[in-house]
């Protein structure tokens, strides 16, 4: 049935005539217009049958989408809460005695270490604020010229220095004997880590490199 489709806005044709629109098109636009019309004509020649399944599925599709949109915030909030709870649980749990490291004396079967008992919480003592009396000022005394130190004092000093040298922890593996003096156990080798960590920064390094370079390690 050939039906004339009316103009959308029939009264506006006179006003349109007064509106200045340049009629000349650029050549490429004219060419594109012809090609577009040709393409549209080609596409509209064949009318495929109406797909009723698509028409009936469309509301279901929107319903599914609306469910997904509604559940998405729940999923996001649930995931975030779960992650937070798991991380908190990892941070606060007790060390597992089974997973504690084994101390293995040489030539013996390994024995499990006993889980360390947590020290009961001690109530913190509130220190009373007592006014501290001012320090007595040191009186400057004139320096006295004294004789050389006695020999015994010098010896003690050298012994102390030697002891200090001996106290420096070594990084070599050490043999340690467990047990009591009555019933000594088999000796075990303890591979000790370096006793003293390297300082994070030293004043010399700070002067040389600056803070940011020390921090980032370059």
């Amino acid at each position: 049935m050939n039906e004339q489709i009316p103009l959308l806005h029939p009264g506006a044709s006179r006003r349109e005539a007064r509106t200045k629109i340049p009629q000349e098109r650029s050549g490429w636009l004219e060419l594109a217009r012809q090609q577009s019309q040709k393409l549209a004509r080609t596409r509209s020649q064949f009318t495929p049958p109406l797909r009723w399944d698509r028409l009936e599925q469309a509301p279901a599709r929107w319903r599914r989408l609306s469910w997904a949109v509604a559940l998405l915030p729940l999923l996001i909030v649930g995931g975030a809460t779960g992650t937070w709870a798991f991380v908190t649980h990892l941070q606060t749990r007790q060390p597992d005695p089974v997973a504690a490291p084994l101390i293995t004396p040489l030539g013996q079967t390994p024995r499990r270490a006993v889980a360390p008992r947590r020290r009961p919480a001690v109530p913190t003592k509130v220190k009373e604020q007592v006014p501290v009396p001012p320090k007595p000022r040191r009186t400057v005394r004139p320096r006295q010229t004294t004789a050389a130190a006695p020999v015994e004092t010098a010896r003690e000093e050298t012994q102390q220095e030697e002891q200090k040298v001996e106290q420096v922890p070594s990084t070599e593996p050490q043999r340690v004997i467990f047990g009591t003096s009555d019933a000594p156990a088999e000796p075990a080798i303890i591979v000790s880590p370096p006793a003293k960590m390297r300082p994070l920064w030293t004043p010399e390094a700070f002067k040389k490199k600056g803070m940011s370079r020390i921090r980032w390690g370059w």
Partner: protein, 216 residues
Amino acid sequence: MGEREIVRPAQQTADVEPSNLSTEMLVRRAQEGDRGAFEELYHRFYPPVVKRLTHLLGPASPSVHDLVQDTFAQAYQNLDRFRGDGHFCHWVLRIASNLARSTYRRTRRSLWSLWDRPEREAMVASPLKSVDETYPTLHAVHHGLAKLSATLREAVVLFEMEGLSLAEMSAELGVPLHTAASRVRRGRDKLRGELERMGYAPLIQGQVALCNGEPQ
């Protein structure tokens, strides 16, 4: 005075073939749930909807037929909202335009557009090569149109490609006549600049006929 039999229009036209009914009658019957009437509406207004979508989306959109089905699906779902103030065709065409707009926006944001970008660039690069094969000029013009804002692009397409009058265009876009005219003018200027930037020098009328394969 005897009882008068009330004859409803749908009952009156129940035995008439849908193809012989007017659009208003078909719409009324479709609103009452007559599937045959809606199919007749589909067959009657398929060509204008395809043309509108083709002009708006360009030759590179393979999903025009799917979009037509979506357009009629939306029309079928919202058929009870159609009050009959305007013509059914204009209502369906407005649905198609809205769908085309959302599809265009979605495809531009899609990551797949980065995937096939080199091919599109190559298609646009040679203006005068194989004109009759795959509409390269149309590709190039749509490539230039993609650089325009959505309002200017739509105005240029409706006025230039589809050939709507300014009055129809202003009613379609819901803007005053002068606004529609100014959009067309600004869109044309920007498009000309984009085409020149892509290497499309201004073409005179004789060359247009030559490109179309017409004798001069």
